[in-house]
Subunit: 352 residues, 2 copies
C-alpha cells in the first residue's frame, strides 16, 4: 500500500516511447492518483518552477512592496444548473476560494467562456447573472474576459475559465513546512454535499431530496480564521474530497493526518446518495468547505470564528497531525485505523 | 451603412423576452459584429465596470506602487498543429501579446487545460513542449495551472486557457483617447498569414504551400516600439484581422482610420488562399502582428525599431488617422475609398 502512494513521487519520465499510444481518460481529471501522475509526469516535467512545483491552489508571485497570489481554474460541470448553484456561481467561488486558502484577499477575476454552438443566450444570461451575484458577494471585480465558440454538439455546453489575483499581507505565512505533529485538523461543516447534489442532478434516479450544493465564496470566513493566528495550512477539498486534500498535505509534509469517523459530519441525504452510487463521502467533492490545519491551542478560537458565518455554523475539529505513521488515516467508530490513499481512478458518476 | 456600424453602440437589452430562444452560433466567436453585440449586450450588461468596459486586450488594475495588467484568453484552434505553430505556442503568444500591446512587460502566465477523453498523452506532451519553448522565448513564467477532462468525442481535442499578469511602468500612457488626426498607422509586416495557414491545414484542399503562421511572441519588439515615444495605441489584430482592430480603434475614438491598399503586404500564398476560400485579407487573423498608432514624427523611429527584430523585418506605414469621415476606410489602388465595416457574421472556414 505504501508503494502505491509513494509512486506519485516518481518524477519523469512518465511514459516511455513504448507508451506513445497512452491516452487521456476521465480519471486524469478526477483529482486522484492518475491526475497527480499526469501533473508530475507531464506538466511539472515541462513547466516545473518553484511556484508550480508547490502544487498549491494559487501561485505566490514576487512583487515589489506586495505579495500577489494568482490562480486559475476551468469549470466543466454538468448539469449547468443544480440545487444550490450553477456553473457560473461555481466558477467564481472556486477561484475566490483558491485565493483565500492561500491567505490572500481575492481582488480581480478574469472570465473566459468557451461556448458550444447552440447554447441558448438565455442560458448564458442566467449564468452571467449568477456570476455577477457571486462576484458581488465575494467582493471581487471581473476585469477582463474572452469568448470562443466551438462547433455544435448535442445539448447545451459551456466551459468557463476564471483566473484570479489576490493580495496577501507580507506577515502571512502558510505552508506544509509549518505543520507540526500535535496540530489539529478543522473543517467548517459537513462533507460531500456538492458531489451528492450534482450526482443526483445528473442522474435519472427520480429521487427527491433536499440536498443542495455547499458552493459558496469562503473568503470572508477564511480571513476571520486567519486573524486568529496559529494557522499552518488551508485548502478547499474540491475534486477528490477531504481524503485527497489530506493526502496532498501528507505528501508535502511527510507527517500523518488522522481523522476520526465519528467527528465527520455527513448529512443523511449525502449518506443516502453515497450508498446508492457506491461513493465514499471522504472522497466526494465540496465547493464551500475549507480544511484548516492549526496549532492545537488556537483551535477553539478558529472554530468560534468559523461559526460566526452561515457557511461555518457546523464547524468542527475532525482530527490531528501525528509524526507517525505518515499518510492519511481514518479512525473508524470501532477504533481501528483505515488508510485513506489518494483516489485511484475516479468515483463514478463523474461530476466535475 | 453608418447605422449598421453604430448599432454596436446600442447597449442592453440585447434581447427581449420574445428572443428567449436565440442561440449561440459560430459567428458569436468570430471577432466581428455579432461577437461585439454579445459582449456589449450580455457581458457588459452583467459585468460592466471601468476596466471591462474599455474592451481592451488586458485589464489595467490599480496597485500600490505598480501598475498591473491582467489578461485572459482561451484557445480552441483546429487542427492542433499547423505550419509555424500549434495550440500551445498560440496560447502563450496570444496572451503575451495581449499584455505587450497594453504597454506591459509580461511576467506570469497561468495554464488551464480542458482535455477531451481519448487525447493521446504524446499529443499533450508535444503541446507542452511547445508551450515551454514559447514561454522561454517570451521570458514569462508559468506559475499556476489546472486540468479538467471531459467525456470522449471524436478525434483529439484540447482547449487551453492562459491568463497573464504583466507590469507596466507608471509613465506609460496608451489609449484611444490619445489618438489625434494626423497620427499614422504602422504594422510590423504582412497580413493574413495565420488564418491562411490554419485554413489550409484544416481543409481537404490538397494544396502544397510554403505558408506558415506568423505566430510569435512580440513583447520584445513592442517594448522597443514603446521606447521610441509618441505611441498612442497598439493592438494585435487576431480574430477579425486588421479591419476589426481598426474598427475597435474607430469605435473608441470617433476618428477616421484610412489605410492604403497598395501599402498593405499580402503574401502571394495568402492571396491565393484568400481567393480560393473567398476571404478578405484585411479580415484574416494574425498571431504575430501589432498595429501601432503613433505620432507622425515618430513613425520612422518606430519602423526602425521594429525592423531590428525578425518579426518586424517588413514593418511598414499603412495609413493615417483623419478627423472625418469617421470609421475605417480602405483607399484602393484606384484611389477610391471603400468602407471597412466590422465583420458581419464570420469568414468561412473558421479557424479559431
Amino acid at each position: 500500500m505504501k508503494d502505491r502512494n509513494s509512486e506519485i513521487k516518481v518524477y519523469p519520465p512518465y511514459f516511455s516511447p513504448g507508451l506513445k499510444e497512452e491516452r487521456i481518460v476521465l480519471s486524469h481529471g478526477a483529482g486522484g492518483l492518475k491526475m497527480h501522475r499526469l501533473i508530475k509526469g507531464v506538466f511539472l516535467k515541462y513547466f516545473g518552477n518553484k511556484s508550480l512545483a508547490r502544487l498549491e491552489d494559487a501561485a505566490v508571485v514576487g512583487w515589489e512592496g506586495e505579495v500577489l497570489c494568482f490562480t486559475t481554474d476551468s469549470y466543466v460541470v454538468k448539469p449547468l444548473f443544480f440545487p444550490g448553484g450553477d456553473i457560473g456561481k461555481l466558477s467564481v467561488c472556486g477561484t475566490v476560494n483558491d485565493l483565500a486558502v492561500m491567505g490572500a484577499e481575492p481582488r480581480f477575476i478574469s472570465l473566459s467562456f468557451v461556448l458550444r454552438e447552440g447554447l441558448r443566450l438565455m442560458t448564458l444570461s442566467r449564468i452571467c447573472q449568477s456570476i455577477k451575484e457571486s462576484a458581488k458577494k465575494a467582493g471581487v471585480e471581473i476585469v477582463t474576459g474572452d469568448t470562443k465558440v466551438i462547433e455544435g454538439g448535442q445539448g447545451e455546453e459551456i466551459y468557463i475559465n476564471t483566473s484570479g489575483i489576490g493580495v496577501r499581507k507580507k506577515a502571512v505565512k502558510l505552508g506544509a513546512e509549518l505543520v507540526r505533529a500535535g496540530d489539529v485538523i478543522l473543517i467548517n461543516g459537513g462533507i460531500g454535499e456538492h458531489e451528492a447534489t450534482v450526482a443526483l442532478a445528473r442522474g435519472d434516479y427520480r429521487l427527491k431530496s433536499r440536498l443542495r450544493s455547499d458552493c459558496a465564496p469562503l473568503n470572508r470566513l477564511i480571513a476571520a480564521v486567519l486573524s486568529c493566528g496559529g494557522v499552518r495550512l488551508m485548502r478547499d477539498p474540491t475534486r477528490g474530497g477531504l481524503a485527497t486534500t489530506l493526502n496532498e498535505f501528507a505528501d508535502q509534509s511527510d507527517l500523518g493526518f488522522v481523522i476520526e469517523e465519528e467527528r465527520l459530519l455527513v448529512a443523511r441525504a449525502v449518506k443516502g446518495v453515497a450508498e446508492l452510487l457506491g461513493l465514499d463521502p471522504v472522497y466526494m467533492a465540496n465547493e464551500g468547505k475549507v480544511v484548516v490545519v492549526c496549532a492545537k491551542n488556537r483551535a477553539e478560537a478558529v472554530l468560534k470564528a468559523m461559526r460566526r458565518f452561515p457557511e461555518g455554523r457546523r464547524a468542527r475539529l475532525i482530527g490531528a497531525v501525528v509524526k507517525a505513521p505518515a499518510g492519511v488515516w481514518l479512525k473508524t467508530r470501532l477504533g481501528s485505523l483505515r488508510r485513506l490513499l489518494m483516489l485511484e481512478g475516479e468515483q463514478l458518476p463523474r461530476i466535475c
